[in-house]
């Protein structure tokens, strides 16, 4: 099928773990996805898929403000995984049940049991796939503490995989010595796809007060500045695993998306880009991808996946 955002007739559809996306731009977890209405709006902005906020068993208020600041070259956040808990959030997901755009449920937990419970609830309410957030850099005893241990990653992944029927994406952190080892652990745990990267641990200090600005002091760095790090991670992972990869980190243009795809990603997620280019960034990026494909003589997006390895 040929999509036509722009004028050119190129095929920008893609597939991850059997899920077909009309285009490779997905909404990243934690951005405009606290309620059904917001996700609906992003769907109408033509995102190829939506990832929900990371949801836990119980409600969490997150950290006090300031939680998000914009730096010169990226965005720094320490939300602290605020979410209403799976019970309430399932109501939001149910409202999207008839959406043609795939909705992927992001979940975080402190242990295997929690991930399984959350995964089953998400599946029951109709998500197309799960994204295991094993990578949040700033919530104590969640995320990164789980996601930097290959054994735990494999165990959680395979345990959830056994209990649910939908595909499982594992989202990885760049804040590890060897991301390849973690990606391989996820693959060995039968993950259906890898999502990379989550934010990079960073900090900003106010000079006049001599204090870190974020209430959590340390935050996660996202946006334009981290793209070279994300590209490197996706490239390293693609060299070492066979499952599909979703590239995240600093995608704001069609060029950025294409770079991730060349590094080995089958699709990209966009988070901070919503700040840089507005909520219609998904459509903009698709148009730019089509223009670039035409300029470089590509007909199908899928033929570009991983070309940088050849």
């Amino acid at each position: 099928m040929y999509l036509t955002f722009g004028v050119t007739l190129v095929d920008i559809t893609t597939k991850i773990a059997g899920i077909r996306l009309k285009n490779p731009t997905m909404l990243a977890s934690g951005i405009m996805d606290e309620d059904a209405g917001s996700m609906q709006r992003i769907i109408e902005c033509d995102a190829g898929a939506i990832v929900t906020k990371s949801i836990g068993l119980n409600a969490r208020e997150g950290y006090p403000n300031p939680t998000v600041i914009e730096l010169n070259h990226g965005i720094l956040n320490a939300m602290g995984l605020p979410n209403p808990g799976i019970e309430q959030y399932c109501q939001e997901i149910r409202q999207l049940k008839n959406s043609k755009t795939p909705v992927i449920g992001s979940i975080y937990g402190a242990n295997t049991r929690e991930f399984i419970e959350l995964g089953k609830r998400m599946e029951d309410h109709g998500v197309s796939a799960l994204e295991l957030n094993l990578s949040c850099p700033h919530a104590k005893s969640y995320g990164l503490e789980v996601g930097c241990d290959p054994k735990l990653v494999q165990e959680i992944t395979s345990s959830v995989k056994e209990k649910v029927g939908i595909p499982i994406f594992v989202k990885l952190s760049p804040n590890v010595t060897n991301i390849i080892e973690i990606a391989i652990a996820a693959e060995e745990g039968n993950a259906d796809a890898i999502v990379a990267i989550n934010t990079v641990k960073g900090m900003k200090i106010d000079l006049e007060l001599g204090k870190p600005i974020l209430s959590n002091k340390i935050g996660g760095y996202s946006g334009k500045a981290i793209k070279p790090i994300g590209i490197r991670c996706v490239y390293e992972i693609a060299k070492n695993v066979d499952i599909p990869i979703v590239g995240v980190g600093g995608v704001t243009t069609g060029e950025d998306a294409l770079e991730y795809i060349m590094a080995g990603a089958s699709a990209v997620q966009i988070g901070s880009g919503v700040y840089y280019r507005g909520i219609d960034i998904f459509k903009k990026v698709c148009v730019e991808i089509e223009q670039l494909m035409k300029a470089y003589g590509y007909k199908k997006l899928t033929e570009i996946i991983g070309v940088a390895h050849t």
Binding site: V68, P84, D206, Y275
Partner: protein
């Protein structure tokens, strides 16, 4: 960069019971209806509408209701806070006769709008609705600027006895009003919206805010309308399609809370 700018309190002035105005140096241009994020280090950062626009000096007016506002309440001239913004869209001030309806601290952000309207030779009537006399503020300021001011109190301790929305309804019946601009309890604004069939309507909403730059989704209403960027001011046409308007808001965790 979008980080707080440290500035010193110039003046801290009590306006009524538990209500204060603080002013500070902040040269950025701001329109009435827009808001700041106000950082009290080690406490919190909260949204606050601009209530004074005086060249390089800006002010906010707030009620002490919790941690952050209590911390603000205690600050003295010379103390430092962090300010960023302005954020949001502000009011469109158009028409021949505008009715401003402020409930509680809502009047704080309407005041600069009313002053601007008068300056632009627009007839301006302001309803200030408060629970009782001790909470009343900005009466003098608004009269002085040339607006017609009507006070309503729930207990009748001064002015009209009843809700601000009832006072407003009576005015709407009597006078030819082009536009209603309101800020206050959402139920009150919802009631007003229902009365404004053919009258242009703008309401300034409050939702829990985290990023204030339109990405975290915390403040969204309806179909992903972000109060921090697409609002805080919405027109009547938009609000009629927002199911949650006057029905529920969400807390810091994203849980729905009925009004």
């Amino acid at each position: 960069m979008n980080i707080p700018k440290i500035t010193k309190i110039i003046e801290s002035k009590r306006e009524a019971t538990d209500i204060k105005t603080i002013t500070f140096h902040y040269p950025e241009e701001i329109e009435s209806g827009q808001f700041f994020m106000v950082w009290m280090p080690d406490v919190d950062e909260i949204p606050m509408s601009v209530s004074y626009i005086n060249g390089d000096i800006k002010g906010i007016t707030f009620r002490k209701i919790g941690d952050a506002t209590s911390a603000l309440y205690k600050l003295k001239p010379g103390n430092k806070i962090g300010i960023r913004g302005p954020y949001g869209n502000g009011f469109k001030i158009q028409g021949k006769h505008i009715l401003f309806v402020g409930g509680g601290t809502g009047v704080a952000m309407l005041a600069p709008a009313a002053e601007e309207a008068v300056k632009n030779s627009i007839s301006s009537t302001v309803v200030i609705g408060v629970k009782n006399k001790s909470e009343l503020f900005f009466e003098k300021r608004l009269k002085k600027c040339g607006a017609k001011v009507i006070i309503s109190t729930d207990d009748g301790s001064v002015g009209y006895k009843g809700f601000a929305s009832d006072a407003a309804k009576e005015i709407l019946k009597k006078e030819k009003i082009d536009a209603v601009l309101t800020c206050g309890p959402e139920m009150m604004m919802k009631t007003l919206l229902d009365c404004c069939k053919n009258i242009s309507f703008q309401a300034s909403l409050e939702r829990y805010m985290k990023c204030s730059i339109g990405i975290c989704g915390q403040c969204c209403i309806g179909k992903g309308l972000r109060v921090c960027i697409d609002g805080p001011v919405f027109d009547g046409k938009t609000l009629k399609n927002v199911k949650d308007f006057g029905v529920y808001r969400r807390d810091s965790a994203g849980r729905k809370i009925q009004f």
